[in-house]
Subunit: 506 residues, 3 copies
Amino acid sequence: MKKIIFFIISLVLFIPIALFAQTTKKITAAPLSSQTSACIGCHKTYTPGIVEDWLKSLHSKTSPEMALKKKPIERRVSAEKFDDSLNKVAVGCYECHSLNPSKHKDNFNHMGFKINIVVSPSDCATCHPVETMQYSGSKKAHAVGNLTKNPVYHGLVETVISKKKIENGKIVQLPSSPFTQHETCFSCHGTEVKVEGLKEVNTAMGKIKVPSLINWPNQGVGRINPDGSMGSCSACHPRHSFSIEIARKPYTCAQCHLDPDVPAWNVYKESKHGNIYFSKYQDWDFKAVPWKVGKDFQSPTCATCHNSLITTAEGKIIAERTHDFGARLWIRLFGLIYSHPQPIHGDTSIIKNKDGLPLPTAFTGEVATVGLINKDEQNKRQNNMQSLCKSCHSTQWTTNHFVKLDNTIKEVDSMILSSTLLLLEAWKNNLAEGLIHGKNPFDDAIEQMWIRQWLFYGNSIKYASAMTGAPDYATFKNGWWNMTENLQNMKDWIEFKKSSKGSEKK
Amino acid sequence: MKKIIFFIISLVLFIPIALFAQTTKKITAAPLSSQTSACIGCHKTYTPGIVEDWLKSLHSKTSPEMALKKKPIERRVSAEKFDDSLNKVAVGCYECHSLNPSKHKDNFNHMGFKINIVVSPSDCATCHPVETMQYSGSKKAHAVGNLTKNPVYHGLVETVISKKKIENGKIVQLPSSPFTQHETCFSCHGTEVKVEGLKEVNTAMGKIKVPSLINWPNQGVGRINPDGSMGSCSACHPRHSFSIEIARKPYTCAQCHLDPDVPAWNVYKESKHGNIYFSKYQDWDFKAVPWKVGKDFQSPTCATCHNSLITTAEGKIIAERTHDFGARLWIRLFGLIYSHPQPIHGDTSIIKNKDGLPLPTAFTGEVATVGLINKDEQNKRQNNMQSLCKSCHSTQWTTNHFVKLDNTIKEVDSMILSSTLLLLEAWKNNLAEGLIHGKNPFDDAIEQMWIRQWLFYGNSIKYASAMTGAPDYATFKNGWWNMTENLQNMKDWIEFKKSSKGSEKK
Amino acid sequence: MKKIIFFIISLVLFIPIALFAQTTKKITAAPLSSQTSACIGCHKTYTPGIVEDWLKSLHSKTSPEMALKKKPIERRVSAEKFDDSLNKVAVGCYECHSLNPSKHKDNFNHMGFKINIVVSPSDCATCHPVETMQYSGSKKAHAVGNLTKNPVYHGLVETVISKKKIENGKIVQLPSSPFTQHETCFSCHGTEVKVEGLKEVNTAMGKIKVPSLINWPNQGVGRINPDGSMGSCSACHPRHSFSIEIARKPYTCAQCHLDPDVPAWNVYKESKHGNIYFSKYQDWDFKAVPWKVGKDFQSPTCATCHNSLITTAEGKIIAERTHDFGARLWIRLFGLIYSHPQPIHGDTSIIKNKDGLPLPTAFTGEVATVGLINKDEQNKRQNNMQSLCKSCHSTQWTTNHFVKLDNTIKEVDSMILSSTLLLLEAWKNNLAEGLIHGKNPFDDAIEQMWIRQWLFYGNSIKYASAMTGAPDYATFKNGWWNMTENLQNMKDWIEFKKSSKGSEKK
């Protein structure tokens, strides 16, 4: 019965669809598939924002065949050939939402078409296989498991986002809810999107049945998709414009890499690079492939240093494109507690420190020997990064910068060790219960002061040094001032706690 | 004598005025009134910024008659007819600053013209009556009284902004000054602008007499004007460009709705909506009326969801324009202490909680039964908002979002209740003096920790949930981390205070 | 041998240089000198970002001779005549990097040319002598000495940025490293760039010898250059575009003048001026000289009020250009502890307070009598600033604003005095060791709370008042709320400390 209704609706919609297809033929250079025309026939009325967004995308104006006509260095696709069904039509609704249906637990019959709700990296790989492959080995792709499977990280997450109730004047920690997990840590890291049968939803077109998705919507970088793949391209190329411009502008990375724990965005905003970006970006070309230093842009954004294919104005390659976001990084400034070489693989559960924990450093700073890249690989990556710096800076300028960064990393790590020693004193005097008591090391006040030292203040100083900017941020806003003041507060807390414990006993 | 001087000045100015009128005839499509030409004759020299600002406005280029020639859905005016004196001329200085003179205590004789200093919403209603009417019933219009007449809110204001002196090692709270009131709370809420006779001011044209205004300048949303009206259109359509573009861009709302207490702007900046806005706004049309989703903009600003007339690209209405800023809201996330349904009327003094106080919730969270909208009205408004979401998001996406928001509101309210219980413990143990002692509940350290829980951290988490963004903000910056840490600090404060009170006694 | 290699390289590069010179002849209006063509021949390959940046600059398109053809009010150069060697060629690499070689300790033989690494204000003075002269007398030019030579400021710097280790449960302060000095305080204030002989660096062109620079790179405003001059024009006109647009946009000042200690940028962002700037700047002309109020811009940026040559649309001068950044300021809102009149000279070491210290106020607020401008000079400067305000605001509006500011300064200073009295109580009770014990007044917890009062919160309130914006910032973010709460915390700290000291004794 419902299928008949849909059929009638389809008939009624035939005329506008045909008209729309004609109109859009003028707008887009590539023809639409009949399926995509049908999608748009309804969706331009029911989700007009999506259709208009897509109409402004390159996807709506190009076909794989047209994309292949560009010189390799100018291509946005990395596949060399395409199925006939895709080759000559614009990259429309159906072309993306119908791929690999057998793998998609979220596939359903929608108005006579077999549609996936979620488009996954494995689907995008149809045209962009190199990017998908690079991404799949990165820490971003493994961002869910790296958080949930690591007992230390997981303990920190739960301490922070769990509900707390008061019982007899004491704080009792209750489990966190999936909803809160979803909109805090896992909003960036990604959720595991699960399908729980079909459910009826009430739309403007009447009631329809759709796969019921749990932990949805989410565009976290490590989202586990209903087809089993990991990642969400939409995290950086949002929604239906799939814009390279948006991904290259710093606001995209800024959604997750920001103050107080990963203050890349805050440091950038207050740096000379940021200053020039904000003053001049409107004159730059954020769509050019390759991206030509000085010509297309006069100051780097995040993507310049970490991802994009960068060349000189004449086309000489300075850095190859990568979608493994750690590929140009040799050291990891944040993560649990001290700095350390980058992990070998995106799945960081293989790391082991001297205490056998899956952490890149020990509690007192010793770097793990298993799972981190070696000195040669570190040098190779740092040279890669330096060649980007040298596009605009002299060799001495660049070298001096990296020497200064090395020193800062050491100083910050030593400040964090000082904080750790105070924490140990609190534990040893039973002023707080932590690791040495087999208890949660994150829930006492002094433990939380200690967390601030490395997760907030230490990171700020190291990022400011690494990105050569934000001196005031590293001094008074979230850096040396705070680390100094907080260290003093840790000491006072120990004194006050000893005093109040003493007076309790009397 | 002075009038003669002014007459001579006017004569001397005749030639440039005439020339200017000729020049501007070319620039503007509508002719200037002779009065406005006279204003500009002097003011282009003495306040050139104002004249140039106005020359860039639509007001300088259009007359009411021209405005009425547009289709109703494209109109910026809501009046249907106009006085002859206004109908055919550009909307210039005199057209606005001369209206309703008998009501304006700030009206004065200025160079032979009867001029009001302040242009009020009642004056703007000449052309925009629907907007003025909607606004006048809103919480924004009543923002002054809602703060000054409520004893609880007023107590918080005074505690925060009053001067404090030290007497015998104790902190003594002195009354706040009108100047500081003016540039803190009442800068956003609005001041009561009073006229205290005339005073002589020293201008570049010599000494002139003007009405002496108290609590001026101010463009707070609830400003009480010298004609008795409430509000300042200039709060969002600033100065003499009266720009719809400025009002639609998020920087306008951001002046008051920001971190730490009303962090709408901070959440927006770190959300996907914000990311797309910052990356792409330069390609959008912020002046189009109606505002077409996906076509004129690809991501919402504050105005999209809360105010603007939104249609599809083809002109199908998705949401009607409203200048009652709560009209599309069902729940109130901030305000004193816990979440609650929106007030029925902008004047919130009619609300009563179970303790008889004019507050939307009781101290321990129970929602007031008088003065708040009922379930039907809540559903109606939420459906209105959801239809905006569904322009770009599927029904399931939208529904899941609202389910998650409902849960977050509950969790945050329960966390705040936990904090309230600790505060009660401090009061009961006489570690701080508050409500149960008939004393100021806002001036002890633990009371201020408790305020942080709901005014800063709880609001941050709820806003981040509602606007589907800023997960790191809700986690580490100003949300769960801080609420957890601060709860622990409340507990420690109680312990330290008991200890120090104990040692005092000994 | 090396010179021969360079000669061969030069020969090989001859053809591309010649071709490039031809190409750029079309791009630039002024011809390149042969030396600059040679520079570009290599550097377009080895530092392409620099060359492209310069190609977008006015320097690449104009010669001094062309610059002098403009009317004086429209000129960007202040010299009246130029050497023949410079007069007719574009302002290229060699024209700037070869000046005054005998004074430059960083001069070296680079591929057959005598090149300075650092271009100093004395070099820029070749074309911009008035700007250099104004700047050289300003506090910015003396920013290094003002920090290092003042024992009080120096003590604060060291307390904040020094490494700390834990010995027997006590915090021990170690000296700060030059690297950390360099990337915190002195990143903004400037470093002393020293030359330590030559060193070999490994470039893409092979190994070359360059002067070895210490404390480099740095673009702090008071940088001490290898030619002995003070300042870095690149601080505000960054890199090789030397852009007036960048200097006039607020992001430039924002690199150093920001939250929490000098929150000009934060206040601007949340002000009405900022709102209009962010909403409309893309329509403004940031390159126009003179800068015409209302026409070229509708809202001020930092440069408008503090530096630029501002005229009406018809060219009537409202304010003269100045590169002495204090020239339009009468009062100093920040600096050590209380507000005070502006210093007479950029070198503030000549100031003496009543205790003989080189500070503008005494510990309890009395203003220094030596080294600060008198009342007449204050009035003159305030009138200068007011004439800028009056371009867009009425006389009464402007006057009322300044009356309010005066009151706020007094209230904040009295709040800081209250905090100082609590600190004195702590010192007198030996709860902390400070000035009266001849000890560091910045390293105890209560001392650091006291610093927050004036350095963070007081400054925020005063800046918000002065710039007529950011009421929420001054209320809840970093102002009255924090000052009130922190005062209470100082009192509680004294109580807890007394208690713990008491229990120690028992």
